[in-house]
C-alpha cells in the first residue's frame, strides 16, 4: 500500500467520521432566539472533518519517509485483547494477579523467554500494585 493510498483511506475515513458527527448533531435540540444550542460546535467540528477529509483524498501527500512494513498482528492483538479482558477479570480476582499476567504476556510477546517473562511479570505487577496502593495511597 502506498503513501497516496494510506492518505486517501484516512481522508475517506475522516469524511465519514465528519458526516456521522453532523448526522448526530442534527438530533440535538435547537433553541429559540437564534440560539443554535448544543449542536453548534459539533457541526463546526463535523464540517471541519469533512473538508479536511476531502482535501486529504484530493491532494498529493508529502510523506517521503513512508515505507511499507510487515506487521506481526497477532502479538499486538493478544496484548490488546488482554487489556480489554483485564477489567472483567479484575472484578473477580482483584487487580494484582490479572495485572501481573498481562505484564508477563507482554514481556513474553516482546521477546523474553517464558520463565523470565513470568518472573518479570510477577515482580512488575506486585511492585506497581504496592507502589500505587501503599506508597502513593492510590487505591486499585
Amino acid at each position: 500500500m502506498s503513501a497516496v493510498s494510506i492518505q486517501r483511506i484516512w481522508g475517506a475515513a475522516l469524511t465519514l467520521w465528519g458526516v456521522a458527527i453532523l448526522l448526530v448533531a442534527r438530533q440535538f435540540p435547537r433553541l429559540a432566539d437564534h440560539h443554535p444550542g448544543p449542536a453548534l460546535f459539533p457541526a463546526v467540528v463535523g464540517s471541519g472533518f469533512v473538508i479536511t477529509g476531502i482535501l486529504l483524498v484530493l491532494l498529493k501527500p508529502h510523506d517521503a519517509a513512508w515505507k511499507p512494513i510487515t506487521l506481526e498482528w497477532h502479538r499486538g492483538l493478544i496484548a490488546l485483547g488482554l487489556c480489554l479482558l483485564l477489567p472483567w477479570v479484575a472484578f473477580m480476582a482483584g487487580f494484582m494477579i490479572p495485572l501481573a499476567i498481562v505484564v508477563a504476556v507482554v514481556a513474553w510477546l516482546a521477546g523474553l523467554s517464558w520463565w523470565k517473562a513470568l518472573i518479570a511479570g510477577s515482580l512488575t505487577g506486585v511492585v506497581i500494585f504496592y507502589l500505587f496502593t501503599n506508597l502513593l495511597r492510590v487505591p486499585l
Binding site: 503513501a3 492518505q7 483511506i9 484516512w10 475522516l14 448526530v24 440535538f28 433553541l31 432566539d33 437564534h34 444550542g37 448544543p38 453548534l40 460546535f41 459539533p42 467540528v45 471541519g48 472533518f49 479536511t52 482535501l55 491532494l59 501527500p61 508529502h62 510523506d63 513512508w66 512494513i69 510487515t70 506487521l71 506481526e72 498482528w73 502479538r75 499486538g76 496484548a79 490488546l80 487489556c83 480489554l84 483485564l86 477489567p87 472484578f91 487487580f95 495485572l99 498481562v102 505484564v103 507482554v106 514481556a107 513474553w108 516482546a110 523474553l112 517473562a117 518479570a120 512488575t124 505487577g125 506497581i128 500494585f129 507502589l131 500505587f132 502513593l136 495511597r137 492510590v138 486499585l140
Partner: protein, 490 residues
C-alpha cells in the same frame, strides 16, 4: 517566612518534592492528583507548612513529567505533551543527563523568572487580568490552536485533522452552556467526558507498546552510550540558556502571562511557547532544534506554575486545578483569598514567595539530577522488560485517574487509534492540544455570544480581544508563508 525556615517547613519541602517527583515521573499520575491526595494531610498541618509542601509537590511534579517522556516517550503531563518528542529525541542523541538537565535547569530558571515577576508585578498583572472577559479567553484559545496547527513539522492538513480529533473528543459529555449530553450514546459514564490524561496514556504510551509488538523489526533510536558526568546536567544546559537568553525570557514571560489567566495555566503556556519557537525555526529556514523547543516549553510551564497563584491569592479565582485545590484548603483553614489577604496575612504571602524561590533554586536541580540518574539507568533496561512495565503503568495509570474500569478500554482504544494515525503520518500532540483548548474555546464562545445576543462584531470591538485576533492572523500569515517555503503545503 518562619514556617519555611523551621525544621517542619524544610522537611515539608523535601518530602513534598520527593512525593511530587514520584507522581510526576509515573505516567498517568499528575501534579493535580498528587496535590489532591495530599489534602487529608494538609488539613492537619499549619498553612505555613502545608502551602510550601504543595508548592514543592507541584513544582517538582511538573518537571518530573519529563522523566517518563525521556524513558518511555509518554508525556507525564499535558504541559510536557508540547515538547515530549523533542525531549525524547534529544535524550537518544545527547543522553538523558543533558536533556533532563535542560528540562530541570530550564524549569528552575523559568520558575525563578516567574516567581520574581510574581513578586514584582502581582498588582499590575491583577489589573490586566481583571480586563479579561470571555471574549479575550475565546481569542486566547483560538491563538493557542492556531499556533499548534502551524507548529507541527509536517503537513498542516494532517495537523488540522489531529486537532479536529482532539476537538471532537472534547465534545464528548455534557455541553458546557446548556448541560445537554453529547456523543455519550446513553452511557452515563461518558457524561463526564473523556479524561485527557487517559487519552494521553493511550495515545503515547500504549500505542508505543503496540508499535513495538506489531513492528518488532522497527529500528530503535540508539541511546548515547558515552559516559556522562554531572557537567552534562549542570554545565551544558547553562551554556544553552545563556546563548538563548531572549528565548528563555520570552517563554517565561509568556508562561507568566498565560498562567495568571484563570483556567489557562501551565499547559497552554507551554504549548504556545513551543509553537512560537517552532514557527521561528521554520521562518529562519534552519533545521528543527530539539534543545531550544524543549527549553521554550520547560521554562514556560514552570513560570506559569508560579503565576497561576496570582488570581488565586488576589481574586480567589483558581489559575489551574492545583490552585483550585489550594483555595479549598484556604477555606478549610478559614483564610479568605482576595486583595485583603496581602494586608492581613503578609507572613503567609512572604513564605509563599520564599518557597517558590527555594523550590526553583534548590529542589529542581537536586531532584532533577536524581531523576536524570534514574532515567539513565532505565534507558538501558531491555526492551521487552521496558515494554511490559510501560503496559502495566498504562493500565494502572489509566484506571487510577477516576477509578473507572471503562478508562482502561478508552486507553486501549486510543492506543489503536494512535497507531493508525502514526502510520498515516498524522501528528499526535495536536490531539491533546484540541482536547485541552476545546472546552475553553466552546465555553467562552457561547458565553460571549449569549452575552452579546449573537452580535458577532462584539468579538472584535474590545482592544485586548482585537490585539489577540491580530496576533492569531499574524501566526496564520507567517505559518502559511513559511510552510509553503519549506514545501509542506498540504
Amino acid at each position: 517566612m518562619s514556617g519555611l525556615f523551621s525544621w517542619e517547613g524544610i522537611l515539608a519541602l523535601l518530602l513534598g518534592g520527593l512525593y511530587g517527583a514520584l507522581f510526576g515521573a509515573i505516567p498517568g499520575l499528575t501534579a493535580t492528583l498528587a496535590v489532591a491526595l495530599f489534602i487529608p494531610v494538609a488539613f492537619f498541618l499549619d498553612p505555613a507548612v502545608a502551602l510550601p509542601a504543595i508548592i514543592a509537590i507541584s513544582t517538582v511534579a511538573i518537571f518530573a513529567g519529563d522523566v517518563s517522556s525521556t524513558v518511555a516517550k509518554i508525556p507525564g503531563t499535558p504541559a510536557s505533551a508540547a515538547y515530549f518528542e523533542s525531549l525524547f529525541r534529544l535524550s537518544r542523541r545527547e543522553g538523558p543527563l543533558y536533556s533532563l538537565g535542560i528540562s530541570a535547569i530550564g524549569s528552575a530558571v523559568g520558575g525563578l523568572i516567574g516567581s520574581l515577576l510574581l513578586i514584582l508585578t502581582a498588582s499590575v498583572i491583577i489589573k490586566v487580568a481583571r480586563q479579561f472577559s470571555s471574549f479575550e479567553y475565546f481569542w486566547i484559545a483560538v491563538l493557542g490552536l492556531t499556533a499548534g496547527l502551524f507548529a507541527s513539522g509536517g503537513s498542516t492538513l494532517k495537523a488540522m485533522a489531529s486537532l479536529l480529533v482532539g476537538l471532537f473528543f472534547a465534545l464528548v459529555g455534557v455541553d458546557p452552556t446548556l448541560g445537554y449530553a453529547r456523543f455519550s450514546f446513553g452511557n452515563a459514564q461518558l457524561l463526564g467526558g473523556l479524561n485527557y490524561i487517559v487519552v494521553m496514556i493511550g495515545l503515547f504510551g500504549f500505542s508505543e507498546v503496540l508499535t513495538q509488538l506489531w513492528e518488532p523489526d522497527k529500528e530503535q533510536e540508539e541511546v548515547k552510550m558515552a559516559r556522562q558526568t554531572a557537567r552534562a546536567f549542570f554545565g551544558r544546559p547553562w551554556g544553552l540558556i545563556l546563548r538563548e537568553k531572549a528565548l528563555v525570557f520570552r517563554s517565561s514571560l509568556l508562561g507568566v502571562l498565560v498562567g495568571f489567566l484563570p483556567g489557562a495555566g501551565a499547559d497552554i503556556g507551554s504549548w504556545v511557547s513551543c509553537s512560537l519557537e517552532r514557527i521561528r525555526q521554520i521562518r529562519s529556514g534552519k533545521e528543527e532544534r530539539d534543545d531550544t523547543i524543549l527549553l521554550a516549553g520547560t521554562t514556560s510551564n514552570n513560570a506559569a506554575v508560579a503565576s497561576a497563584w496570582i488570581p488565586a491569592l488576589s481574586l480567589g479565582l483558581p489559575g489551574d486545578t492545583i490552585t483550585a485545590i489550594v483555595l479549598g484548603i484556604f477555606m478549610m483553614k478559614g483564610i479568605s483569598p482576595g486583595p485583603l489577604l496581602f494586608d492581613q496575612q503578609p507572613h503567609l504571602i512572604q513564605s509563599l514567595y520564599g518557597t517558590f524561590i527555594v523550590c526553583n533554586l534548590l529542589l529542581l536541580p537536586l531532584y532533577g539530577y536524581l531523576a536524570a540518574l534514574l532515567a539513565r539507568k532505565l534507558l538501558h533496561v531491555s526492551k521487552p522488560l521496558l515494554l511490559s512495565v510501560i503496559t502495566g503503568l498504562c493500565i494502572v495509570g489509566a484506571y487510577a485517574i477516576n477509578h473507572e474500569i471503562r478508562d482502561i478500554w478508552v486507553m486501549a482504544g486510543m492506543g489503536v487509534l494512535a497507531y493508525a494515525l502514526k502510520r498515516g503520518g498524522f501528528p499526535l500532540a495536536q490531539i491533546v492540544l484540541g482536547m485541552v483548548l476545546g472546552p475553553l474555546l466552546e465555553q467562552n464562545f457561547m458565553v460571549s455570544a449569549i452575552k452579546s445576543r449573537w452580535d458577532i462584531t462584539s468579538f472584535f470591538d474590545r482592544p485586548l480581544a482585537l490585539g489577540l485576533m491580530v496576533a492569531t492572523l499574524v501566526i496564520i500569515g507567517v505559518g502559511i508563508r513559511f510552510k509553503h517555503r519549506v514545501g509542506a503545503n498540504t
